[in-house]
Symmetry: C2
Subunit: 343 residues, 2 copies
Amino acid sequence: MSGIPNAIKSWYFAERPKGDLDDTTLALRTVPLPELADGEILVRNIYLSLDATNRVWLSDWDSYMEPVRLGEPMRGFIIGEVVHSKNAQFPKGALVSGLSSWSDYVVTNGEGFQTYTGIAGLDLAEAFGILTVAGPTAYVGLVEIGQPKPGDTVVVTAAAGAVGALVGQIAKIYGCRAIGIAGSAEKCAWLTRELGYDAAINYRTEDVDKRLAELAPDGIDIQFENVGGDILDSGLKHMKNGGRVIICGLISTYNSPGETAPGPKMFRNVIMRRLRIEGFVILDYLARYPEFHEKLLGWMRDGRLKYRLHVVDGLENAAGALKLLYTGGNHGKLMVKIGDPRA
Amino acid sequence: MSGIPNAIKSWYFAERPKGDLDDTTLALRTVPLPELADGEILVRNIYLSLDATNRVWLSDWDSYMEPVRLGEPMRGFIIGEVVHSKNAQFPKGALVSGLSSWSDYVVTNGEGFQTYTGIAGLDLAEAFGILTVAGPTAYVGLVEIGQPKPGDTVVVTAAAGAVGALVGQIAKIYGCRAIGIAGSAEKCAWLTRELGYDAAINYRTEDVDKRLAELAPDGIDIQFENVGGDILDSGLKHMKNGGRVIICGLISTYNSPGETAPGPKMFRNVIMRRLRIEGFVILDYLARYPEFHEKLLGWMRDGRLKYRLHVVDGLENAAGALKLLYTGGNHGKLMVKIGDPRA
């Protein structure tokens, strides 16, 4: 049958990293294509989303979901085209997305997959890159958990990342002041000149603590935390009474094995400033995605929500690309183009 | 005039402690009684409340309120009798309570003071000891911030302390399971045999982490934290998804100067378990005290809220008594009897 491969190429979890990801963590292997059972579909993957939480799945911690086991294909969100189907719900030619694996093709019974029927005005990469993880994460974290009010000062860490870039813009839509923390002058300029952030701090060249004192002299109402470690410590120092610290990610600690990551030094400010620190996992909110997408798409179409995609070409480059998230080497939403977007 | 002294004896903040309180931190001094100005009253103090947060007031951190300054009288909640009045709101003979100083007499314009008219069935020590700080703190923390539901597993640290003893009993009233952590076999026995705690862990002789795994195999819904440090770390390991960590006190860290107290090691569980960590200060809730007192008094009269008072006799013993809070040497609500309760 034309378009059906003989084999499937995937990245496998080969060796648990002790700290930073290294070249032996994941290994690209090819296995023969299995026969499709009734109810299964074969998906030709087009895009793979790379997310900071991927590192968590490779740890042996007790986490928010089962880790990837050694010897299994690496897990990731993908969107692709059904090229063979024994499941009437997902006919041949349909575009489908779901939490799957880092592979050129996947065989699945479709559990947890959604059909994608296109969104006017967005190409496939934009829709997948912004609406699968980053957009809903930014919305739920800032709006539902952070409860922003007009005039609030919102600090966003990893502000030039896929989620952070959106958070600052949503903060502005809600009438807040947005201060971004990012890792280069180029990123900081992008935040203030393109995205409408009121100010940006380059944590590699500036004293974050001192700059926060200058930029938020009355304190921070909401800290949207993607990083943890020293950056979070600085934020905790400058929180206002009744402030909210939204823990979306702690990327600076994900490479620390076991319980070795130090906790926030200024933890006592939870009392002194009457703080609420709250974490969340976007997978808990999948049922509410239509509601979030409606909001996000409205803003995207009005030009109030800008973004950039960092698309790495070729499945074979996925493992190398993932490291960019932990060094700050990506510029915008990081994803891998595995196959031709056009069927 | 009879009953009016010539001088006032007070504990003064003499030397900032570097870590633990020591004998030179506070010093007892006598100053001449000033002339009362219009609007002022002279109060003969009867009881002084000693509270874990007293140590915070002696630090130079940025805290939830102004610290006590070196050379000033030490701050504390007192109840006493008006023995001379130039303020019609507080006539001679009235009992008044408020945030004042560690003194045998105080001169005040009455700002922040309340008149105490007696509560049926409670003697002055009980009313002052339970309703001034400990009771409202336990109620607000557990009920308003913790939002307990029937069947929830509630872990209380410093469970035999003034606040903790009440928290477990209120948890039981709300249909929860209560597990207490305390520092002696005697305290643990008191928790389970007298107060109705379902279980107690002696942190000095037992492995808290292991015991929590046994006693809360499905995880902790609410951790009511008075201690911090290793005890909090153990709790964070065993939190259930969506759990709430109420930060009432971090007494184990109050003797650590500046930013040296280590943060919670298992902080990443804020994400992994989708936790809400929330701190509060009872002084923010003074306007709602009548509502809390009604609840607490109802339970006290029904015999559902037991407590014990640890009353140290004599103002001159106040500084020594305060240290008991940081070594776990007190048994129940710690307070100092400064003068005769009977007018």
